[in-house]
Symmetry: C2
Subunit: 250 residues, 2 copies
DNA sequence: TATTGTGAATTAGTTCACAGCT
DNA sequence: AGCTGTGAACTAATTCACAATA
């Protein structure tokens, strides 16, 4: 039974939460946080289409999880559903938005303007999802000074000043693996505490810095493992007939 | 204590493993599979630099995990270490390589030649990591027929034939969200059972198809959540001094 | 002696199943 | 009647800590 796998992120640190005044955020499990982003996308889509209310069942289907998990996840935010009815799409959207801290419209710096960097620079989803590219940085003198999407490409040597003046919250790293650690160190010194790393390297960072990694090769290898297992399995079984059922939750 | 988080994937199905003749692969936990790819990268790097033997401690540091986890992970592959000494780099590399099914040099199809698709087409890591781009597909008549990296861009309408003749094992989807499900359906009909989805949509697939998703916006939103929590925390605490310790494992 | 391999203990995450509302 | 919210049960993953051993 090899179904669509949900890709959640196991926990790292974050054990020591405290209820903090203002936005109430006591210990939302890491796995739940990762799914909130998915729920948010589904909700925004529904809102655009004019759906006003949604049940845990249909939102769960849209998000590719089962409804018990969805309800448990939402329960960490508080009690925003109406029994017998469902969830108000716009209210729930706002709550998740707030919980993820997206009201802040965080400034993002894009470091490294290779093919991937350019692709990300052109990604329309930044603005619509609560982020704003505020700086683009590279080391190549040939492109420093040119403009990409209205922003001047700045030199990596000026990183410190850029981070401070633009108040960069998140850095997206698309530099070659060989220089990733060095650039990361500069970012950390400049005060960046959240990094999304596309370089195929493990970054060493101080404990207060958060790194997430996107790793194409690793994803393919994980698929390869399961593919391999599937074909090994197929060798011992009668040929599969065409009876395939759509399954999102188990 | 907000440290570098490891990004492992929680399990979906795959509960019903069976020991299969040949490559021995009984029930490796999902979280472990995801890390094997990281260990492999670290090992390959060490091999290139001429390291012959490595202890669980140093490999763990290189991979950004703690050594107990690393040893437990490797123990699922079998017993390839030497007590008091460590692991033979080349032997362990081969074992992980085999476990991940990378000896097969799987054929990958790239579907969608936007900015991201082009960036991925140019990614050198495919070949060196056990994959080979065998087909590039798009729907835009203006680019169908042109060549990218030596490969002709083919039309999405021919997907069925392409998948069969090239024996495509894995499809990498970088098409617009609006058409992702439709293209996915065609892939499934053509017989693809592993999909790496970069489109910001949840794909519905039959149970035997494996989908992994890479989601830029979600990653940023998760970082945003923690960033938000950090700043809320900082409001109630004395300013942090400069004493930052590098922490990879706890 | 140094390091692996692993049962046992712990912690996190998921699912069940039903009480409690609307 | 229908759907949420959630304790309780279960399953997966991590960490501990130490016996085994080259």
């Amino acid at each position: 039974m090899i179904a669509q796998r949900d890709q959640l992120n196991a926990v790292g640190g974050h054990a020591d939460e405290r209820s903090v005044a203002g936005t109430d955020q006591r210990s939302i499990p890491e796995a739940t946080v990762a799914r909130l982003a998915i729920y948010l996308r589904a909700l925004v889509g529904m809102g655009k289409v004019g759906v006003a209310t949604v049940s845990s069942g249909s939102l769960a289907t849209a998000a590719g999880v089962n409804s018990a998990k969805l309800r448990k996840d939402l329960s960490y935010l508080g009690s925003y559903g109406i029994r017998g009815v469902g969830y108000d799409v716009s209210l729930l959207t706002d709550q998740i938005h707030k919980t993820l801290g997206l009201h802040q419209n965080r400034a993002v710096a894009l470091i490294g303007l290779g093919h991937l960097g350019r692709a990300l620079a052109g990604y329309a989803g930044f603005a619509s999802r609560g982020f704003r590219i505020s700086a683009i940085v590279d080391a190549d003198p040939a492109i420093v000074g040119t403009r990409v999407r209205g922003l001047p490409v700045q030199h990596v040597d000026d990183l410190d000043a850029i981070v401070r003046t633009e108040n960069i919250a998140i850095a997206v790293l698309t530099v070659p693996a060989g220089v990733a650690q060095e650039v990361c160190d500069r970012l950390v010194v400049a005060g960046v505490t959240s990094i999304l790393n596309f370089a195929p390297t493990v970054l060493a960072v101080p404990a207060h810095v958060d790194v997430r990694k996107v790793d194409l090769a690793a994803e393919l290898q994980i698929l390869s493992f399961h593919d391999n297992r599937k074909s090994a399995r197929a060798d011992c079984e009668p040929a599969r007939s065409g009876s395939s059922t759509m399954a999102v939750g188990p």
